[in-house]
């Protein structure tokens, strides 16, 4: 395979210097691991991990009608983030209620910042562009910006150390602007994908390496690749677009009805969600603990020998030492405690439906 078609983030050279193993992911050449997935996972849970997530798409939405535009395009109620600095998790749906993407929208005060999945970058931008009225400005900032996540219990202390005395970290699911190390202007968001406290930092591409290096200069900080990013998020039950949902699934099947509030159903796909809510769904996303094997994407899930679903996300939990999976199952099999089996390469391995986050 040729690497010439793969894009690189502004931190590519930094990853190479750290000896990262690079893999293709969503059109980018990305670090999958540095010291090892389990080390990196545990370092994030115990101290702090730093992640280059600059491959993610970043869009800026501004103009007089930006707010009604996003109210129409996104499932969650934009009124919930009318306060400057507020942020929300939300979905973009098609007219049939199928999930086009899951994303976070931040109200940065004078405009909205959207952070979306790298795999959906072009599709999302084109979809928004096609629906956008003239007095809304939509700008793709992805090339000009870097995104670095700092996650784990020591994260906020490090940001405190690197900012002025009068700077206060944003509350959870909020964003503000900061000056890091007296030189690097950034946006600091108290969001993440690991289940730990932490921040996601938006910086200019040209500042990415300086920011990365100053964060990494703290002995508490370990660089973490996409491998541990996946195990960290799956332990929490956080969905990954593509494996845990796609355009063939509606938010209720994906257990994301909570980001489709009922008081405001005029968004694209809202009527389909309303109907699904009234009619009920036949399948829903469930999480499965597996002891005695590691479930993988595409493997069969069975109940009493009968195939009932297919593994979406599947991996090993470094924290707990068991296998973990997600799968769409008939709703009657999605109650915690339901016994299932996963067919792991010709062998049937026992599993049990659990309510995430995974725990012992």
């Amino acid at each position: 395979m040729s690497d010439t078609t793969l894009k690189r983030t502004p931190l590519y050279e930094a990853h190479k210097r750290l000896g990262a193993r690079m893999v293709p992911y969503a059109g980018f050449e990305m670090p999958v691991q540095y010291s090892g997935i389990i080390d990196e996972h545990n370092a994030t849970r115990a101290s702090a991990g730093i992640f280059d997530v600059s491959h993610m798409a970043q869009f800026r939405v501004s103009g007089r009608d930006a707010r009604p535009f996003l109210q129409e395009m996104l499932s969650n109620d934009i009124a919930r983030i009318d306060d400057f600095g507020a942020a929300q998790y939300t979905l973009m749906l098609n007219d049939e209620g199928g999930i086009l993407d899951d994303l976070i929208v931040y109200n940065t005060g004078f405009e909205y910042l959207i952070i979306a999945n790298a795999a959906n970058h072009e599709k999302d931008f084109n979809w928004l562009m096609a629906h956008k009225p003239e007095n809304v400005e939509l700008v793709d900032e992805s090339e000009r910006t870097a995104l670095i996540a700092l996650q784990g219990p020591k994260s906020t202390h490090i940001i405190d150390e690197l900012t002025a005395d009068d700077y206060a970290l944003p509350e959870r699911f909020h964003i503000n602007d900061a000056l890091i190390d007296n030189t690097i202007p950034v946006l600091v968001a108290r969001t993440g994908y690991t289940g730990e406290d932490g921040v996601e930092i938006v910086a200019r591409a040209q500042d990415a390496e300086a920011l990365w290096n100053v964060l990494l200069s703290f002995p508490e900080v370990t660089p973490v690749g996409l491998g541990a990013r996946d195990t960290l998020r799956l332990e929490q039950g956080y969905p990954l677009y593509g494996d845990d949902m796609d355009v063939t699934r509606n938010p209720l099947e994906a257990k994301l009805g909570w980001v489709c509030p009922t008081q405001e159903e005029d968004y694209v796909g809202g009527q389909a969600v309303k109907k699904a809510r009234e009619d009920g769904v036949e399948q829903a996303l469930a999480h499965i603990r597996v002891d005695g094997g590691i479930p993988r994407n595409g493997q069969q899930v069975l109940v009493q020998g009968q195939p009932v679903g297919v593994v979406g996300s599947g991996s090993h939990s470094p924290t707990f030492g068991f296998g973990m999976a997600s799968a769409y199952l008939p709703v009657e099999y999605t109650d915690p405690g339901t016994k299932v089996q996963v067919e792991i390469r010709r062998k049937l391995v026992e599993g049990v439906v659990v309510k995430p986050p995974f725990s012992l």
């Binding site: 193993r21 999958v32 691991q33 090892g36 997935i37 389990i38 080390d39 491998g227 996946d230 195990t231 094997g293 590691i294 993988r296 991996s315 090993h316 470094p318 390469r345 062998k347």
Partner: protein, 126 residues
């Protein structure tokens, strides 16, 4: 790290060590390094027989699964039970405590296997 001189190797990165009348099979340092931290090892039953090149099990890291291929035609006489609780032995000591299976191999042909120097040359060209 140079491969042990007294072991034999396959181009699938398994090693075979002749030990009196039986042999021991494991994966090489190159293989364990490529896989990363091994979290699960799936081994055959004692008594199972395999042809040379046949799959006899799998090793899994967090991200990936790799099949294990038999270096020679042989019958399994013992499996490394320690790997059930400590699969990372394959990472920390792949030529020693991280061995996989013990086999009886009769008069199986060993001539297709590489010696340590040839295997190191083979890896350096990958």
């Amino acid at each position: 790290m140079p491969s042990p001189k007294n072991y034999l190797f396959t181009n699938d990165h398994e090693w075979f060590n002749q030990n009196d009348e039986h042999g021991i099979v494991g994966i090489t340092d190159f293989a364990q390094d490529q896989l990363g931290e091994i979290v699960y090892v799936d081994l055959p039953e004692v008594g199972d027989s395999f042809e040379a090149g046949e799959s006899f099990g799998e090793v899994e890291s967090v991200k990936s699964v790799s099949e294990l291929f038999m270096p020679i035609g042989a019958k399994v006489i013992e499996v490394n039970e320690d790997l059930a609780d400590a699969p990372d032995l394959v990472n920390s000591d792949c030529y020693g405590d991280g061995w996989l299976i013990k086999v009886s191999y009769g008069d199986s042909d060993l001539s297709s296997l590489m010696d340590g120097d040839s295997y190191d040359t083979y890896c350096s060209e990958l």
